[in-house]
Amino acid sequence: MITKRIIPCLDVRDGRVVKGVNFEGLQDVSSPVDLGRYYSENGADELVFYDITASAEGRRLFADILREVAATIFIPLTVGGGINTLEDFDRVLKCGADKVSVNSGAIRDPSLIGKAAKLYGNQCVVLSVDVKRVDGRFTVFAKGGRENTGMDALEWIRRGEADGAGEIVVNSIDTDGVKSGFDIEMLKAVEEIVSVPVIASGGAGGIQDFIDLFREIPDIDAGLAASIFHFGEVQIPELKRQLAEAGINVRR
């Protein structure tokens, strides 16, 4: 039986990991290569690298970093951030990404998902959606959660899957950073309407939050988090030990 995946997400700006981290035995905590290797040797099932660079020079540094990561770390790599065109897909896939995550780029050009899926296969295209409740309705936000698109999130996700997205990352803006657990209500609503893998993001504050996620939504495929892993609040081997104890199937 397939295992539930635990996925750390690394924000990279100008070739360095943004959030300050502190790990025993790790000298350069802002090196994406060192940190990626640390996670891959300590139980991460997949890594997400998110490029938050705005400049062309930063993009070039990101490409160099990605190539180095892909040459030294042998678990699946997903890349997101600044993916607006098929050329962007091509750019990161050539550097060794296995999957490409689109967010605002797909909102600007809704045909992007379909075109990329046809060219690279559905398994390669991840639709990432930032969702917030507005007047009780799940609504899509763009530009890192700053802009209300007015679009219904469930409609948008259903369309993304139909166009060929092979995986959906649901990031709840309502629970993000609050550390009081994943947005179970929102994730359940998404899981009910799609048949491709769904990755939960936003809100994990501790190990129990992952246990609750996989218990309350048995069909959810993965839990993604950033700061709780980077700050060492949750160690992945311990997280997996407790998940296994709770009867949840994980790779150990």
Binding site: M1, I2, D45, A71, F74, I75, P76, L93, D98, D221
Partner: protein, 207 residues
């Protein structure tokens, strides 16, 4: 030297890097002479069977790979490269494979239970058939070790050749071999430590 056959299908950077990582002299090659001189051949592949089979034939490398394998040179097919080793595939029509492994490739959709997502994407456990000795390619791998899968189609009618399965509702073919020809449905280059052990065992085989 290990030749990774480059016939214009998919991203083979990680596969190349994995062999380098374990200290193997691997080269990406589309040169028939170089592939014939290699000690071992790796056939990669992602995407659709029909398209890949056509590219492999049109490049003239299908004959090179088949002839070398028939001479007993170790050959390793990975993911779609593994499926190409079979006699035929029913992915969008019917397509002829290299015929190095008996059996055919079909969709898992009719056999996986309701609620199982297709494609089969993620980490799943390897199981070794109990009625035969463990294949040398799994020399350093234990029953239940996890590897990374991404596929919709799988090899069937190949029970004699099966050297590992994985459970996704029914047991699906995870690896096959016949003589010195090996095929892995999963991606060893994305399967962490376990994947590296499998590639190392292949590198250590006698040609």
């Amino acid at each position: 030297m290990i030749a990774i056959v480059d016939y214009g299908v998919g991203n083979i950077f990680s596969l190349y890097s994995s062999f380098r990582h374990i200290g193997a002299d691997a080269r990406l090659s589309s040169d028939p002479g170089e592939i014939r001189r290699a000690d071992k051949i790796v056939l990669p592949g992602v995407g659709a069977f029909g398209d890949a089979a056509r590219k492999l034939r049109n490049s003239g490398l299908a004959d090179v790979v088949t002839e070398e394998a028939e001479k007993g040179k170790p050959l390793l097919g990975i993911c779609l490269g593994m499926q190409l080793l079979f006699e035929k595939s029913f992915e969008y029509g019917e397509h002829k494979g290299l015929g190095l492994i008996p059996g055919c490739v079909v969709s898992m959709e009719p056999v996986v239970p309701e609620g199982y997502k297709v494609p089969h994407i993620g980490w799943n456990a390897l199981h070794f058939p109990k009625d035969r000795p463990k294949s040398p390619i799994f020399r350093d791998v234990r029953e239940g070790d996890f590897v990374y899968f991404v596929h919709t189609y799988y090899g069937t009618d190949c029970s004699e050749a099966v050297i590992a399965t994985t459970e996704y509702g029914p047991e699906l073919t995870a690896a096959v071999s016949a003589g010195s020809v090996y095929g892995l449905q999963f991606h060893p280059e994305k399967s962490g430590e376990t994947g590296m052990k499998i590639l190392k065992a292949f590198c250590d085989m006698e040609g």
